[in-house]
């Protein structure tokens, strides 16, 4: 029986885990953080990167060592050792990964609850409507409508998503939060509401992230996070009021939307 340096292999796995983790933790993979959810999500990602580095290191060390150590010499046509298994090892590599993934799931659940928690009940209500190929915004409590999304920094907003024709998806990468805008919302049991607290002033883009037709790649709209409440109020005062003729969202029969046979933009 050739001696296998188990301790050295384990050490190599540990060292590789640390090296890979350190390297993989340096970049800000998800980009700029501009909401309170961003840090929670990015930290969760970092933890998953460390766990992944561990798994990856195990695979690479064992694969690399085996191919180096037990490569058949030229002319050696004999068989390897008839090892059929090792029950203890197989139990270990069933139980330990289960523990790891369940732990990651539990941590993810905690983060999910955190980022979806409502902070009090003073959210700024915004109705966001996606249509081929633009976004539009209404602030029902402020009575204004706009073609751009403006919010003040450090205040939680509650978004109510609507879609006029096909499924679109609301994503501001720096905020991390994403949700599909589904035709039929708010009815039909569609979960069309979410909260987010942008906490960094600046200019961002709202990007559509659900294929919606010809203009999908052009469907982006400016987002402005105002530094102060006053700046935001100033902007509000300059906006048009919500148009009178608009039917209440979700109420009454709506004209057939994009799913019906009709003149389709994409032809």
């Amino acid at each position: 029986m050739r001696d296998v340096p188990y301790a050295r292999l384990a050490a190599a796995m540990l060292v590789l885990t640390v090296v890979v983790s350190v390297i993989m933790l340096i970049p800000d993979w998800n980009g700029e953080q501009a909401s309170t959810a961003a840090d929670d999500i990015d930290t969760l990602l970092d933890v998953s990167i460390v766990a992944s580095s561990f798994v990856f290191s195990i695979v690479m060390v064992l694969l690399g060592y085996s191919v180096w150590k037990w490569r058949a010499r030229p002319g050696d046509e004999s068989d390897g050792e008839p090892i059929h298994g090792n029950t203890r090892l197989e139990i270990a590599w069933t139980v330990i990964p289960t523990v790891i993934v369940v732990a990651l799931a539990a941590y993810s659940w905690i983060v999910l609850d955190d980022i979806e928690a409502k902070e009090g009940d003073e959210q700024i209500q915004i109705e966001v409507t996606g249509q081929q190929f633009t976004w539009s915004f209404e602030y029902p409590e402020l009575g204004i409508a706009s073609e751009e999304l403006h919010v003040p920094a450090d205040q939680q907003i509650e978004v109510h998503l609507r879609a006029l024709d096909v499924i679109h998806s609301f994503w501001v990468p720096e905020w991390r939060i994403k949700r599909d805008a589904v035709p039929g919302a708010p009815g039909a049991d569609i979960d069309a509401d979410f909260v987010v607290t942008p906490d960094k002033p600046g200019n961002f883009s709202l990007i559509c992230t659900e294929l919606c037709g010809l203009g999908h790649s052009t469907m982006r709209t400016p987002v402005v996070v105002h530094e102060s409440e006053q700046e935001f109020r100033q902007w509000v005062s300059e906006q048009d009021p919500i148009p009178e003729e608009e039917q209440p969202a979700g109420g009454g029969p709506e004209p057939p939307s994009g799913g019906q046979p009709q003149e389709v933009e994409s032809s």
Partner: protein, 635 residues
């Protein structure tokens, strides 16, 4: 001329195509005229006078080829011609263009046909990457672009990855279990011939007014229900591919359960057989759901039903539930046969039993069961009932466990082995282990809801799917093709060209799909014909790596074609494997075995002195007593 139409074949299939098409067209025109409707309805989604012939014409074509002959005669009470299988085997290239009930011929038909679609889908990928190399619009407009990625994926999934595994298994599996053929050879032939119909329908969509279907291979309603005519070709193509897949799976299930050679208990089956058993269980139960989803879209389009029309009480999100209930098991349909191939290749080329064979088989079954419980992880941000998300996350995370068991077991198989790297098959199998681990890791990340909220529908997902589908499935397909090439063709492929193909593919795969993780996380959505300028650098690198990947495949095709024609003759067992298919000549005798072998031990008993897996007919005289299970090997 009438003789040509009387006998099944290509002339009669053309006749059937035209008559079938005319019948469908005439039926629609007549019914609409009688009902007082506008005869040619050319609203974007409708065109019933095109959709119905698109169903009846292929059926007529199948009839003309001869796929239904025996059953039609039997149903009509006419004397049936018993199939003496005299047409088994292929003597010239023409034999591959007929209805042939020999599983070995069908296997080759599948592999060659699917690789043709692989090349077509691959060319689409090259066009996609050419367009995305720089920001802005250079080569194709957004509508064409959307059509390209939609048809690329549809071809790769439905008429390459899923059926190529069916084809390899079709060839190898009956030999491997000591069976003379599949349980239902006629059904097997029909299964194959339905496949090119699916691919042709997908490609025909390019000729439709409005262009190729462009709602993605996922075809979400209501974008798909309101799309132009090309979308209906997708709806129909999926039906033919699905029917082909289901029929093959039924065939495998019955064959595996009832036709194993005497002595081959379930615990003596090679893992390729376990893998195809598991895959077939997935196919038969899940595929009807995508058939249903596509029929519902088609009906919304042509028959004005309202399954997914919210203005009339329909439920938009339900499309996604129905679709993903199939399409998640589908990704395991696209991977499990590959797992089986890797087990065969690694045990043979490392001269060692598979480590933890029984747990490997149980892990396959575990994946089958769990795969039905995870579908909504594709819908974390879809606006579905919020409570469903966390249970789906838990099941999704758990399915990593049986998958991990398999990775660790293959590593265990390499432990104290005698590893031979002289075959490209082994190179691909080993590269698969690393690449698929990465793909699995990104999958676990996607299963964590808060991470998924950020990266859903971005290039992170494109990276994940290509790591597991190309670096996973396609690597195993290559491993299988190289491994069984000598058995199927009787010739050896060129190993130097194989290595060039391997390294070009490995570098191309990693170079193309690794950076996609990064640009996805940074903000590049998927399915976009154009992107923000900041992503230009990585997109250019990705495109260049993609072209390398594409070029490497040409080397593979050249190697396969020239080696098949001019390669050095191969013996029965160039890899000195233990399983039954290697105990017969290369290529095998037309009817596989003069006498069914007897299985006396496990399939991977390398290193066990005197251990035998199967005793072939010509050796039975030497081995007087049947060996009892348990001699020298755990069974």
């Amino acid at each position: 001329m009438t003789a040509a139409i009387r006998t099944p074949g290509w002339w009669r299939s053309l006749y059937g195509l035209l008559v079938g098409g005319a019948f469908g067209f005439g039926l629609v025109v007549a019914l609409r005229a009688i009902s007082g409707l506008e005869i040619f309805q050319t609203e974007a989604t409708g065109y019933p006078h095109v959709v119905v012939p698109a169903i009846t014409a292929p059926l007529g074509w199948l009839w003309g080829l001869g796929c239904f002959d025996y059953w039609l005669r039997w149903a009509a009470g006419a004397p049936t011609v018993p199939d003496d299988h005299a047409d088994h085997g292929a003597r010239t290239w023409r034999d591959y263009f007929k209805v042939n009930t020999d599983h070995k011929v069908i296997g080759v038909q599948y592999v060659v046909t699917t690789f043709v679609f692989f090349l077509i889908g691959g060319m689409m990928a090259m066009l996609i990457r050419a367009e995305l190399a720089q920001p802005g619009t250079q080569i194709v407009d957004p509508q064409t672009f959307n059509g390209l990625f939609s048809t690329h994926a549809a071809l790769m999934i439905f008429v390459f990855v899923i059926p190529v595994f069916a084809g390899l298994a079709n060839y190898v599996l009956p030999l491997m279990i000591g069976a003379p053929d599949m349980a239902f050879p006629r059904l097997n032939a029909l299964s194959f011939w339905m496949l090119p119909i699916a691919g042709v329908l997908f490609l025909c969509s390019y000729a439709a007014p409005g262009g190729a279907f462009d709602a993605g291979w996922t075809g979400y309603a209501p974008l798909s229900t309101g799309a132009p005519l090309g979308q209906s070709f997708f709806n129909l193509g999926v039906q033919f591919a699905g029917a082909s897949s289901i029929a093959t799976a039924l065939n495998f299930l019955v064959t595996i359960v009832t036709m194993r050679a005497p002595g081959m208990t379930f615990w003596r089956m090679p893992l390729l057989v376990w893998a195809n058993l598991s895959t077939s269980l997935l196919v038969v139960a899940a595929t009807p759901f995508i058939a249903g989803a596509q029929f519902m879209v088609l009906f919304d389009r042509v028959l004005h039903t309202n399954f997914f029309q919210e203005a009339f009480g329909g439920d938009v999100v339900s499309y996604q539930h129905i679709f993903w209930f199939y399409s998640h098991p589908a990704v395991y349909i696209m991977m499990l046969p590959g797992f089986g191939i890797v087990s065969e290749v690694i045990s043979t080329h490392a001269r060692k039993p598979i480590f933890g064979y029984r747990l490997m088989a149980l892990a396959l079954i575990g994946i089958v069961v769990l795969s039905y419980t995870v579908w909504a992880h594709h819908m974390f941000v879809a606006g579905m009932f919020a409570w469903l998300r966390v249970p789906m996350m838990i099941t999704t995370m758990l399915i990593a466990v049986p998958t991990g068991i398999k990775i660790f077991s293959w590593l265990g198989t390499l432990f104290k082995a005698k590893i031979h790297l002289r075959s490209t098959a082994m190179l691909f199998a080993l590269a698969f282990i690393v690449t698929f681990t990465i793909g699995g890791i990104s999958g676990v990340m996607l299963g964590m809801i808060p991470i998924d909220i950020h990266v859903s529908d971005t290039y992170f997902v494109v990276a994940h799917i290509h790591f597991v589908l190309f670096g996973g499935s396609v690597f195993t397909i290559f491993a299988g093709v190289y491994h069984w090439f000598p058995k199927m063709t009787g010739r050896m492929y060129d190993e130097r060209l194989g290595r060039v193909h391997f390294w070009g593919t490995l570098v191309g795969t990693w170079g193309t799909f690794v950076p996609m993780h990064w640009i996805g996380m940074e903000g590049m959505p998927r399915r976009v014909a154009d992107y923000a300028a900041e992503f230009g650098g990585w997109n250019l690198e990705i495109s260049i790596a993609g072209f390398i990947l594409g070029a490497a495949q040409l080397i593979f095709i050249y190697n396969m074609v020239t080696s098949w024609r001019y390669g050095p003759k191969a013996g029965p067992n160039p890899w000195r494997a233990k399983t039954i298919e290697w105990q017969v000549s290369s290529p095998p005798p037309i009817f596989n075995f003069d006498e069914i072998p007897r299985v006396v031990g496990g399939p991977y008993e390398f290193g066990v002195p005197g251990a035998r897996h199967a005793i072939m007919a010509d050796e039975k005289a030497e081995v007087a007593q049947p060996e009892k299970a348990g001699v020298g090997a755990p069974t």
